[in-house]
């Protein structure tokens, strides 16, 4: 957990510095009222203080709490799922929301979870019917469509 904490402290420090730098040109005080950079300045300051507090507390902690990350197989499954989701988002403008979602469901069930074909097809059909019924037919939300009009 020590390494994780150091990374969190470093990430928070960088993010807070980014907020400070990103709002550097904005006024901290404008005439008689706090300006646009007022809140970002204080949020970033608190962020930097917390990053330093976590860094110092982790340095002082000799407990050696084990890290909280999954094994290699778990990480591969999580990365595969995330890649599948981003791929789905990229495919939506090309093939439509429903088609991209169908492909994603099949990829997840057959490719990542290694589930049998027929139950996977059935589960995908149920999900798509639900999405179509609730969001398109009932709520009338215009989901992006592909070349086949779905």
């Amino acid at each position: 957990m020590r390494v994780t904490n150091f990374i969190v402290a470093l990430a928070l420090f960088s993010l807070s510095s980014g907020v400070l730098l990103g709002t550097w040109d904005l006024p901290y005080w404008a005439d008689f009222a706090p300006g646009s950079a007022f809140a970002p300045f204080w949020v970033a300051t608190v962020g930097i203080i917390l990053a330093l507090a976590l860094f110092v507390a982790t340095l002082a902690d000799e407990g050696g709490e084990p890290h909280n990350f999954p094994d290699r197989r778990g990480i591969v499954r999580v990365i595969a799922l995330m890649a599948g989701l981003w791929l789905m988002v990229l495919l939506i403008p090309l093939v439509g929301f429903i088609s991209a979602s169908t492909l994603f469901c099949l990829l997840l069930l057959l490719g990542i979870e290694r589930r049998p074909l027929v139950p996977s097809l059935f589960a995908t059909a149920v999900v798509m019917t639900l999405v179509y019924g609730v969001f398109i037919a009932w709520l009338g939300i215009a989901l992006p469509t592909g070349p086949f009009g779905i």
Binding site: A30, A33, A51, F97, C105, A123, L139, G140, I141
Partner: protein, 509 residues
């Protein structure tokens, strides 16, 4: 008497066929969401919020709140039958509930939890009905400094009253404040931290953050390993408490309900802390503390009564002040804003139908949940036999459709995935996610009231301690920040003393 008359009017709103149907839908979804490990009520509410866009505000809110307290009941099933908490607030139920199930007493554990949740729920809604108007009338005297301090207290209390590291909880809240800074400055109209992106000019919506940080992140965690849990079976005829069981549980239910309601009122504490505290209190007063951890029915009853009572108690500050006390009420508050309703002390007078209809619907919802969790519990338990891998694609697709539906933009879908990754990393780094979501919701109120206060005082921070009420709130904020430090020092002193005693015992050996 006013409250009783208003409540009677609330029943006339809640008992319309449409609202009754959506109470039923809400509590059923809540029961299922609570029962499914890997997705909690806050995530479920965030995912299903877009479904309510076509509904009347009161109908939408009765459904969403049904998911919130339905989740408290549903979490028991998985805790008792599978030994995996369906949602965080059921973690203490899993300790004794599953031990009871292994001893062949799953039915009694589920019955004690259902009856305890019901009685505590009804008690808490009754208290909510009487307390909300009083607090709301009191809050009419609040001005900008009080609002700033109240919102700040909502965030700092999350850190000091939470179960994990206070520094990490504050880090979660700071990340939420940073997210809320993105967009156009609400007072001066200049763009902040948008880095030239037109999509970011309007800021980051609450829903992509909530859906990502709660929904997607939880699915990612559950994907780390193949879900292969086996549920202990239970039968309808076992779902009953004997006279001895009832005698063992009734005071635990009362104590759990009281502890839960008080904890629920506090900003930042929520049902998980309530269940934990009620369990500890019950162990202290129980005539058989040695049974705790090995199958104590009163432990199950106390924890479950407390979490349901806390879920209802958290509605008091949300309805009376517009300040959410937990992640679930933060989603409810966001729903109010999305439905075009301004939260705050005026809500009770401006939207009396909505508030009283919502409160009355909770009485109805708790009755439906009692039926679902006593005679129908074995039916819901059968849902646990569906492999989780068949449910995950549906939850993910509905999450992304919901994110798209907010503004019909794929940018929001991408943001949802981004926040899903952020939420996953937060879970793995042990950073609580509720403070982040609370901070995103509270940040606009915090910033505008802070700047208005300083404008009124011409820059003097003394405005935050000039009025007695703001001075009390400022003291509470300082106290909530000092509490973790105090706990840390106490723990260090205890560790040092234990070290000295150990050294002394070694030297005497």
């Amino acid at each position: 008497m006013d409250a009783l008359a208003s409540l009677a009017h609330g029943f006339s709103v809640a008992m319309t066929p449409t609202n009754l149907l959506f109470v039923l839908i809400g509590v059923t979804l809540g029961q299922l969401i609570g029962a499914l490990p890997g997705i909690g009520p806050s995530a479920g509410m965030a995912l299903l919020l877009p479904v309510t866009f076509g509904l009347e505000p009161v109908t939408a809110l009765v459904m969403l709140s049904g998911i919130m307290y339905g989740g408290m009941y549903g979490g028991t099933l998985t805790s008792v039958l599978v030994n995996v908490p369906g949602e965080a607030a059921s973690v203490m139920t899993a300790v004794d509930g599953n031990q009871l199930a292994r001893q062949g007493r799953a039915g009694q554990a589920l019955a004690a939890a259902a009856i305890g949740s019901f009685l505590a729920g009804i008690g808490a809604v009754t208290a909510l009905a009487f307390l909300t108007p009083i607090l709301s009338a009191f809050a009419l005297g609040f001005s900008a400094p009080e609002y700033f301090l109240l919102a700040l207290l909502g965030i700092t209390a999350t850190a000091s009253l939470g179960t994990g590291s206070a520094v990490k909880a504050m880090i979660g809240a700071t990340l939420g404040l940073m997210i809320a800074l993105v967009g156009t400055d609400p007072i001066q109209g200049t763009s902040r931290l948008t880095f030239g992106s037109l999509e970011l000019l309007e800021g980051i919506d609450f829903l992509p953050v909530a859906i990502g940080v709660f929904g997607i992140a939880e699915i990612l965690v559950s994907m780390e390993q193949t879900q292969a849990s086996r549920a202990v079976r239970t039968r309808l005829r076992d779902m009953w408490l004997t006279g001895k069981d009832w005698a063992e549980c009734r005071m635990a239910m009362l104590r759990g309900g009281l502890v839960g309601f008080v904890i629920g009122l506090m900003p930042g504490a929520g049902p998980t802390v309530a269940a934990l505290l009620a369990y500890i209190v019950e162990k202290k007063v129980s005539p058989h503390p040695e049974k705790f951890g090995h199958g104590a029915l009163d432990g199950v009853a106390a924890a479950e009564s407390a979490n349901n009572s806390a879920a209802h108690g958290a509605m008091v500050p949300m309805l009376a002040l517009g300040i959410p006390g937990s992640a679930s009420t933060a989603v409810l508050l966001a729903a109010l804003v999305l439905l075009g309703i301004r939260p705050g002390p005026m809500l009770l007078t401006e939207q009396a139908d909505l508030v009283w209809g919502l409160i009355a619907s909770m009485f109805v919802g708790n009755v439906i949940l009692l039926v679902m969790n006593l005679p129908l519990a074995p039916l819901f338990a059968s849902v646990l036999r569906i492999p989780y891998s068949y449910l995950a694609p549906g939850i993910l697709v509905v999450s992304l459709v919901g994110a798209y539906a907010i503004s019909l933009s794929l940018f929001n879908v991408g943001l949802t995935l981004f926040f899903g990754m952020v939420g996953y990393l937060m879970i793995r780094a042990d950073i609580p996610r509720a403070p982040l979501v609370l901070a995103v919701v509270l940040a606009p109120l915090m910033e505008s009231s802070l700047r208005q206060s300083l404008m009124l005082s011409e820059g003097s921070p003394a405005i935050f301690v000039e009025r007695p009420l703001s001075a009390v709130l400022a003291l509470l904020v300082v106290g909530s920040l000092a509490l973790p430090l105090f706990n840390f020092l106490l723990a260090r002193r205890a560790a040092r003393r234990a070290g000295v005693e150990e050294a002394l015992s070694h030297s005497s050996d």
